[in-house]
Structures are given as structure tokens and as C-alpha cells.
């Protein structure tokens, strides 16, 4: 099967972890790692592994645009706004792992299939990737009046970008819970815990559903199915216990252990972003490769 050529821009922790995940891909062929610091660990590793390396950032790549059709952006929200425009003009498909949210917010288990023709996809946030599938799973059985998620991550896995703009996490995640998860109202909370050894990412989803005709078994089943779906691309995604029911309140406790590709296993919050990005990119690539581009099918 032919592969779609891919590049990563941003040679930090996320970009480097992506590189290791993409090595296993059957539909994407990683060709290039783009950074701005030739001394960065990511660029050095990419060179050793035999990939093209560019240390002059986006402009360096645009001088050789034939290197990739699809670009993962693992830089920062600020940089992405600039990259998004340039990459669009160059006709590239962009997977945005920053919180810039220029493109449509996508969570694989919910709205990936409707969005296979997009040229800029945003992965929401780590907390969003971990919890929105559950909100949606509940909502597919009973309307969710209110959903709230609490993500607890180890301090070590919270990078400077997250720390400098924590509201970006709470606000973007809350928006995702509403827009993608389908909750009437959403709220997100994030907590950093500095314990050593570092804690594994934990997520709690609380959902209030319409009490009329609430079917506990169907909700439980829907949650289990969704967890199994997410486990396909994030093997360390699991329930901490059976879903808890108190009247019309449902509590779902989750943890996310990373695959340990480049990032340490406790940082499931970073792993779920890179794993979701690869999952989305692969489906986008399959769609393009199979030539099923139906004109006008894209929803605006």
C-alpha cells in the first residue's frame, strides 16, 4: 500500500514522541523533522534515524515542500497561527497539537469520520481527548445536561506552554465538551500534582443526564464500548472502576498511561495527544489514498 508523506514541525518532547509513533505507521511515511534548534534532542535523534532534518523552521520546509503532504504541528499556539496560513497556502494537510484551535476540533471516537476532508484539524487538549469520548458515549444514550471533567497530571508532564496559559486548557476543553461531546454545558478543571514518582494522568468525568428514561445498562455499555475504541490507539487508556451512578449523576474514573515511546509512561496526557494525532492523521491519509474524496461532503 502506498503511504502519504509526513513531516513534524517542532522537535521538542511531543514532536519526538510523534516521530517514534510514526515509525510504526502503515499509512504514513515520516520523511522530515523540522525544528529551529540544531542541537535539540529531537533533531539529533531524527538525523540518526535517517530522516531529513530542517533546522530553519517552517520557512526551511517551504523551500522543499515536496518532502511531505501532511504536517504535524507540535510547536505552540502562537507559532501555529503563522504556520497554519503558510501550510494552507502550500496545500498541506495539518494536524495541530497546539491549543491554537484554528481548525476544527476533532476527537477520533466522536467526529473524525465527518471531518476526513479537512486540511486543518485540531486535537483539542489532552484532557479533552481523554474525556470527551466518555461524555459523548453517555450522551448517545441520555441527553447530557451538564458535564464536568477533572484532569490531574504530574507536574513534570506539564510543559511551559500549558503552565503559561492554563485557562487555554480549561476553556478549550470546556468548549470541546459542549461542541463535540454534546453536553449542554461543559466545565473543565486541571490539577497539577508534583508527587514523586510522578503520578499517571487521571481523569474524572461527571455527567448529569436527563433523568427521564435513563437506562443505566445502556449507558454502562456505551461507555465500555468507547473505552475499548480509544484503547485501540491509546493502549494505556482504562477505567479505574465501574461507572458510578447516583440518581442522574454518572461518575467515570479514568487513567491514561503512556506508551513510553519517547515520553515517560506517567505522562499519559502527552501520549494521548500524540496517539490521537497519529490516529486522525492515518484515517485522513487512508481517506485520501483511497481516493474517496466526495466533493461537497465537507460540512461547514
Amino acid at each position: 500500500m502506498s503511504k502519504l508523506k509526513a513531516a513534524i514541525i517542532g522537535s521538542g518532547n511531543i514532536g519526538t514522541d510523534l516521530m517514534y509513533k510514526l515509525r510504526r505507521s502503515e499509512v504514513l511515511e515520516l520523511t522530515t523533522m523540522i525544528g529551529i534548534d540544531p542541537q535539540s534532542d529531537g533533531l539529533k535523534r531524527a538525523k540518526i534515524l535517517g530522516y531529513e532534518t530542517i533546522d530553519t523552521g517552517i520557512d526551511g520546509f517551504l523551500e522543499r515542500p515536496e518532502l511531505a503532504d501532511l504536517v504535524f504541528d507540535a510547536t505552540s499556539a502562537k507559532s501555529h497561527i503563522l504556520h497554519a496560513k503558510k501550510l494552507r497556502d502550500a496545500g498541506k494537510i495539518v494536524l495541530d497539537l497546539t491549543p491554537a484551535a484554528v481548525g476544527r476540533l476533532v476527537v477520533p471516537s466522536v467526529n473524525l469520520h465527518q471531518n476526513l476532508d479537512l486540511d486543518n484539524v485540531n486535537l483539542v487538549t489532552c484532557g479533552g481527548q481523554a474525556t470527551i469520548p466518555i461524555v459523548h458515549a453517555i450522551g448517545s444514550i441520555s441527553p447530557v445536561i451538564y458535564a464536568e471533567i477533572v484532569a490531574t497530571i504530574s507536574s513534570k508532564s506539564a510543559g511551559p506552554g500549558t503552565r503559561a496559559n492554563i485557562d487555554e486548557f480549561t476553556e478549550t476543553t470546556a468548549r470541546g465538551i459542549e461542541k463535540i461531546g454534546g453536553a449542554k454545558k461543559g466545565k473543565a478543571i486541571i490539577i497539577l500534582n508534583p508527587a514523586e514518582p510522578p503520578i499517571i494522568m487521571r481523569n474524572t468525568v461527571y455527567a448529569l443526564v436527563a433523568p427521564e428514561g435513563m437506562d443505566k445498562d445502556a449507558i454502562r455499555h456505551s461507555i465500555m464500548e468507547t473505552v475499548a475504541y480509544v484503547q485501540n490507539y491509546v493502549p494505556g487508556y482504562r477505567l479505574r472502576s465501574e461507572p458510578l451512578f447516583d440518581d442522574n449523576k454518572i461518575t467515570v474514573l479514568l487513567e491514561v498511561e503512556g506508551a513510553g515511546d519517547y515520553l515517560p509512561k506517567y505522562s499519559g496526557n502527552l501520549d494521548i495527544m500524540t496517539a490521537a494525532a497519529v490516529k486522525v492523521a492515518e484515517d485522513l491519509a487512508r481517506h485520501r489514498l483511497s481516493g474517496k474524496m466526495e466533493k461537497g461532503a465537507d460540512q461547514k
Binding site: 464536568e148 507536574s155 503552565r163 503559561a164 480549561t170 490539577i191 508534583p194 479505574r240 472502576s241 449523576k249
Partner: protein
């Protein structure tokens, strides 16, 4: 005329006390309390959900009354007192803070876990831009060594905070620990230092006095110990003791005693007793607002509240991790059943 004050007291019962009654304040209760606190000459009155702005949630408890309504009402009758709010980045947002500022709040406490000060940079900058008196605070300060506390406090100072508080959120610090921490903060920072205690080990007033002796200029108290866990330094007692020491708070002793007796006491779910569960909070070094959540989980899963709290301490849980309580209680219950 503004009275002379050697120490600035912030009355926190209308925020910290929110935890003790599962966030059930009514507009009427808050208005009555604020009016009396104003008349007693209390310089700062904190009003928010227990977990700060945006705290109303299934995680911490939904507010019975929208906190912005409580804040707006408090501001409208504040007189010479200043209304202050609390924000924990990750829970409360800049948008929440802006809304409070528009309602006329003049002071904000912005805090993080003791090791995570950098998360507050954006909120502190924004609060200053909004013209608020901006106070940084470091929670669970018993969990970090002195050097770390100082380093983190200096970060908050560098972001532009007007003062930095250390919060003994678990009521776990002993007087000698408060002494060395406040002393170090005074040595290394140029701005005012504050102390917020919890009375879980019956040390809140004593610790507050130690902090003042070491140069803390701001301290928190809750009338009748109406706060999370064992409550805080009992404000009316603190005022009386400071008066005996010749330290001016500008607060009328008789009036604040009357507030305790007539207004705050009737609001409290139970008298301020250091029960076994409260004592364990301080002993195990656990966030005081976990108390009610742990009690509920203990009941639901048939385990001892103290075992849950000890386990929370062992896992180095930080403020805000209420969702871990049910998880741990369920685990303890499973272990009990499988035990021979």
C-alpha cells in the same frame, strides 16, 4: 476614618466556611454577615465559593447561590471594608476574575500548590492590569522544604504580586515550622508576607501569632473557626489576643464576638470541635476541604474516614483532588472484603 492597623486581617468565613456547609450560602446570610463585619471594622472580607471563583462544580460541590450574586451584594454594602475573592488557576479563570472586578471587588488572592507558582503568572499579571490588589498564595506549604517555598514565593513576587501568603491548607504545620518559613520568606522577599492557618491540630491561633512575630503583616482568620476542616485561626480570639499584646487590628472586639455568637454560629453545621476526622487531616497533612467528601465516601463504601484521609496523605494528594477520594474509598473497601 480608617483605624490604625499593625496587622491586616482578612476574614475568610464567607469563603472557607463555604466548604463546611457544602457551599450552601444564601444571599441573605452573606449580606447580614458582611454588614456586621463591616461595622466591626474588618479590613478585608473574602467572598467566593470555597474552592475560589469557578469552584461551583460536581467535583467540589455546586453553589446554592451564584457566587457572583453573593460578591455583588457584598460589594454593595462593603463600606470601609474591602471585598476580596480567591482564584486557583486551573479552576477559576481570568474571565471569572474580570467579572468579579467589574462587580467592584478590590482585592484578589491567586494561588497554586506550593511547587507550582508559575501557573499563576498570567492571572497575577492580569489582576494587576485590572487594578486589583493582588496577593499570591502557596497552598499546602507543609509539603515543600523551606528553600522551595521561598523560590516559589519569589516567582509570585516577580510576577507583580503585592504580597505573598503561605497557606497551611492541611493545618499540618507546627509552630517551629511556621517560624522558619515566615522568617525565610521575610529574608528573601521585599513584599508583605501573609499566613493562612487551619485549626486541625488546634494550632491556628498559635501559628498565626508566630507568623506575626516573624513579620507577617497579613493574616487570615475565620470567625468561630468557620472554615474547612477545623476552620482557621478563630478571628475573634485572634483579635482579643492581639489586643492584649498591644498589636492593633482596627477590629472592634465586642462586635466581632457578637458576630460569632449571633450570626456565624447559627450558620455552622456543627460546633467547632476538633473531631477525630479533623485531627487526622492535620496529622496526615491532607487538604482540609477533603473532610466532608471523605466522610461521605466512607459512609458509601463502609470504610473509616480516617483510613481514607491517611491514604490521601500517603499519596501526596494536593488541593483540589477531591475525585481521588471516591477512588481510594472504593479501593479500601475492596481490600477489606478480600482480607482473610
Amino acid at each position: 476614618m480608617t483605624p490604625e492597623r499593625d496587622v491586616l486581617i482578612t476574614e475568610v468565613s464567607l469563603r472557607d466556611g463555604s466548604h463546611a456547609i457544602a457551599h450552601q450560602f444564601t444571599l441573605e446570610q452573606v449580606v447580614k454577615a458582611v454588614a456586621a463585619m463591616r461595622d466591626a471594622g474588618i479590613p478585608y472580607i473574602e467572598v467566593s465559593h470555597g474552592e475560589g471563583l469557578g469552584g461551583s462544580s460536581l467535583q467540589y460541590g455546586l453553589s446554592r447561590t451564584d457566587e457572583m450574586k453573593l460578591i455583588e451584594a457584598a460589594v454593595s454594602i462593603r463600606g470601609e471594608s474591602r471585598i476580596s475573592v480567591l482564584v486557583i488557576p486551573g479552576i477559576g479563570t481570568i474571565a471569572d476574575m474580570k467579572q468579579a472586578a467589574e462587580l467592584g471587588v478590590e482585592s484578589v488572592h491567586i494561588g497554586t500548590h506550593v511547587t507550582e507558582a508559575d501557573v499563576s503568572a498570567q492571572h497575577i499579571h492580569k489582576a494587576k492590569e485590572l487594578g486589583l490588589e493582588t496577593i499570591g498564595f502557596l497552598m499546602m506549604s507543609h509539603m515543600a522544604p523551606v528553600g522551595k517555598l521561598v523560590e516559589q514565593a519569589k516567582l509570585m513576587e516577580s510576577y507583580g504580586a503585592d504580597a505573598v501568603y503561605m497557606y497551611d491548607s492541611a493545618g499540618a504545620l507546627l509552630p517551629n515550622q511556621v517560624k522558619e518559613r515566615v522568617r525565610a520568606l521575610r529574608q528573601h522577599l521585599g513584599i508583605d508576607i501573609g499566613f493562612h492557618g487551619h485549626n486541625n491540630l488546634s494550632l491556628a491561633v498559635a501559628n498565626t501569632l508566630v507568623a506575626i512575630e516573624e513579620g507577617a503583616r497579613r493574616v487570615d482568620g475565620s470567625i468561630r473557626c468557620f472554615g474547612a476542616g477545623g476552620g482557621n485561626a478563630q478571628t475573634e480570639v485572634l483579635v482579643a489576643v492581639l489586643e492584649r499584646m498591644g498589636i492593633k487590628t482596627g477590629i472592634n472586639l465586642y462586635r466581632i464576638m457578637d458576630i460569632a455568637e449571633e450570626i456565624i454560629s447559627p450558620l455552622m453545621a456543627s460546633p467547632p470541635e476538633i473531631t477525630r476526622d479533623i485531627l487526622i487531616l492535620g496529622y496526615a497533612g491532607v487538604y482540609s476541604s477533603f473532610l466532608l467528601h471523605a466522610k461521605r465516601a466512607a459512609k458509601r463504601f463502609g470504610v473509616d474516614t480516617r483510613d481514607i484521609l491517611i491514604e490521601l496523605g500517603r499519596r501526596k494528594t494536593v488541593g483540589g483532588q477531591e475525585d481521588l477520594i471516591v477512588d481510594i474509598a472504593a479501593e479500601l473497601a475492596r481490600m477489606q472484603h478480600s482480607a482473610p
